[in-house]
Symmetry: C2
Subunit: 457 residues, 2 copies
Amino acid sequence: MKNYLFLPVFLLSNIFSNAQNPDSTMVSRIFGEALVNGKAHDQLRVLCKNYGPRLSGSPGAAAAVEYTYQVMLQMRLDSVWKQPCMVPHWERGTKERASILNTQIRGNVDVKICALGGSVATPAKGLRAEVIEIHDFDELKKIGKKGVEGKIVFYNHPFDNSLYSTFAAYSEAVRYRWQGPSEAQKLGAVGVIVRSMTNAIDDHPHTGVMRYDSLGATIPSAAISTRDAELLSHILKTEGKTFFYMEMNCQKFPDILSYNVIGEIRGSKFPNEVIAFGGHLDAWDLGEGAHDDGAGCMQAIEVLRIFKAQNIRPQHTIRAVMWMNEENGGRGGAEYARVAAAKKEKHLAAIESDAGGFSPRGFGTTMKPEQRAKVMSWGNLFLPYGIHDLSSSGGGADIEDLAEAGTPLLGLEPDGQRYFDYHHTEIDVWENVNRRELLLGAGAIAAMVYLIDTHGL
Amino acid sequence: MKNYLFLPVFLLSNIFSNAQNPDSTMVSRIFGEALVNGKAHDQLRVLCKNYGPRLSGSPGAAAAVEYTYQVMLQMRLDSVWKQPCMVPHWERGTKERASILNTQIRGNVDVKICALGGSVATPAKGLRAEVIEIHDFDELKKIGKKGVEGKIVFYNHPFDNSLYSTFAAYSEAVRYRWQGPSEAQKLGAVGVIVRSMTNAIDDHPHTGVMRYDSLGATIPSAAISTRDAELLSHILKTEGKTFFYMEMNCQKFPDILSYNVIGEIRGSKFPNEVIAFGGHLDAWDLGEGAHDDGAGCMQAIEVLRIFKAQNIRPQHTIRAVMWMNEENGGRGGAEYARVAAAKKEKHLAAIESDAGGFSPRGFGTTMKPEQRAKVMSWGNLFLPYGIHDLSSSGGGADIEDLAEAGTPLLGLEPDGQRYFDYHHTEIDVWENVNRRELLLGAGAIAAMVYLIDTHGL
C-alpha cells in the first residue's frame, strides 16, 4: 500500500494542531496523552495474564480486586476503596465433554461444548439422550411436550448476519441461551445445547449466563461451537434420530463476599457531584476477559491517569468504578446504585465501557432529550478521532440501576464487528486487543468526562 | 457484557428495513448480500494460503494471476482478461541475519531484520561495520561524511503515536526507508538499518520498497523490528561505539512479464464508460498479503458478485481490476492508465481499496469540488453501515495515473488503527482479517459503484 509519495493531505494534520478553542485544545491533549503515554494496554496485559479467569467468587476475581485496588492506590488519587457486595459463586468444574453418538459417517463424533453459566452438572456418568433440533420458540411450542420429553433440546438459532449491528444480532438470538433451558425444561427436556452466540463459524464454544431466577433451569445446559452446531444439524438432517452424550461437573456454591473497586479524584467545586465511569471486573472463565471487560476497567483507570498527567483538576468528582459480577448476577452494579442512593450522592452522569476495546465509534445515551442534545452538540470535538455517532440509545448493564435516580447514562460504542468473535470464549485474550484502539476508547471517555465536568449535563 | 435485556432500541433496526427510497433500498440490498452471502473472505483464504508470498515476478504472483483469472471466468462475466505488463523482479534470497556485536551485556546479540525491497546483498561473508544511530536527516547532515563514512547508518525514527491517523505517521516516517539508503550512501555509509514502519513495539521486521531510481542505493539496506531497534538504541546509548553484522543474499533479476487481471460487466447504456475498482495483486513476500492487498482484490471480485447476485444491471461498464506491482514499481497501474488512454476509454471513476480489510469508515476522494459535493450528498446512505466520512482527500497508488485523464479518484478508507501492526510483515495473514469487516468494505465499494452508475459524477 501507498509506498510512494501519494499522501492524502488530510492525513498530515496532527491531532495536537486541531485546536481551535479551549475545548478542542483540551480534547486533543487528552487523546494525545492517551495515545502517547497510555498505560491501559500494559495494565490490561497484567490483568489478563495474571488474573485471567475471574468469574465472580473465583480466586482470580479476588486477585483482580486486589490488583486494581493497588494500581489505583499507587496513582495517589484522592480516594481508593473497595465496596463490598455478596456475589454468586458458580464453578465450571473440570469436565466438559460431548459427543454425537453412533453417526453413520464416523461413529461417535466428539464436539466442543461448554457449560452455560449457572448450569447444573450432568449425572456423574454423563447424560445420554436423543437430541432434537429446534430453531425457535414457536417450533418448540409446536413440537410440545410429546416431542420434547426425555430429550436434549438443541437450539440452533444463528445470528442474523444481515444486521450491521452485531449487538442487534446478539440481542435477537441470546434469548435461546437465556430462556432456552427453562423453556425446554417446562416441556420435559433433560438437557439443552445452544448454538454459540457469534457471527463467526468457529470451534470456540461461547459461554454466558442463562436465566437464574426461581424458574431457572435445573437441567444441564451447554453451548456448542457454531461449527459443531452446523455438524450436528447436518447429521440430524441426513441421519434422522440421533443420540447425544454430554458430561459436565459444574457446581453452584453459596454466595461469597466480593467488591467493586473504586478510585476518584475529588471535584474542586462540586465534590459531592460525581461523574462515574468504568466497566466490570469479573469475566467469564474460559479466556482472560480481555475485551469483556478488562478493556473497560483499564480504560477507567486510564481516564484518571490522563487527568492527573495533564494536570486537569475537575470541578466535579470523577470516579472510576470496576463493578463486580456483571456476567452472572449484576450484584455490583445494584450495590453501587443502592449505596449511592443511601448516601444521597448525586451522579451527574455514569458512563460504561462494556463493548470491547475496539476503535470507538460513538456513545449511546439514555437521558433526557435536552441532555442528549447537549451531548450531540459536542460532536465536532470527537470527529477528529473517528467518533461520529452520539445520537443512539445506550448505556450499560452496570449503570442501569442508576437511571432510577435520574442519572444520565452513556455507553461507549466501539466498532462491534469483531466483538462476538471473542465474546465469552477462550480467545478473549490480551493478544486480541490492539493498543491504539483500546487507548482511543479511553481517550473518548476521558474527553466525555471532561466535557460533562466543564459544561454540565 | 449486556447479558440481560438491556437492549438499546437503536440496535434492533434491521438494515433491510432502513429503506426509505430507491437508493437506500438498493444500498441495503447490497450490504445485506455482502454480509450474508459474501465470498470474499473464503476466496481471500485461498489466495493467502495458496499464493501467499506473491511479489512481482515470483511464482506466487504468476499463480495468483491465474487464480483470480479463473475465479472471474467462472462468474460468467461479460469479459475477463489479463493485461500484460513487464515488472521488476527482485528476490529476498535465503539469508537474513544480523547481530549487534560484542555487547557488554551479553556478547553478540542476534536481532531480527529483513532486506528492504530492491536492496543489494551483503558480501557473501556478511557486512561488519560500526553502527551509528540517526534520528532524522538533519542529524545525518550534521554528522556528515566524516561521521558516516564506512559505517552502517541506523535510522531510528519512530512513528508519531500522537497522530490519530496511522497513515499520517507512516507518511512522515517512511522517508527514512524510502530515501534513507541513498542519503546515507551519498555520505559513504556501507549499509543501512531502518526502524520498522509501525506504531507497534514488536518482533516483526517490516519490509517495503526503497527508492529504486538511478540514484538508488547500492548498499545493503534492511529493516529492523521496533523491539530490536529500541534494543540497539539502548546499547548505543549505554555502551557507545558498537559494531553491527548483517548478512543478506537478496538479488535483482531482469524484468519479467506479468499481468493485471481484469473482469467486467458491460454497461447496458454506456458500455464505453467505465467505473473501475480494485486493489493490487502483488504483495510483499514475508507474509500472505492478506490486508495488503489481497483484501482489496477480493473485495473487487465481491463487488461484481454482488451485482450479479442482486441482479443489478449497471448502465456503465463496471470493472474489477487487480493491478500488478504496486509494491515495488507501480508498473501495473501505469500500464492500465496507458492502455486506457490509448484506447480512449472514458473512466467515470476509479476506486482503490488498499488500506486493509478493516471496518470501512469512509472514502477519500481526488476530484473536482462539485464532484466531491455530489459524493458527499450520498453520505446518509452510508451512515447505517458505519461509513461516516466522505469529505477527505484520497485515492490510491494504482489509480493515480488515471487522474491525468481527469478521472475522479476514490480510495476506500477503513479504520486504520491496526493496519501497521501487519503491514509488510510475516503476520499479514488471513487469520488477521475479519470476515464482516472485509465484506463491509466490499459492500461500501459496491454501493459507491451503484450510486456513481446511477447518478453519474
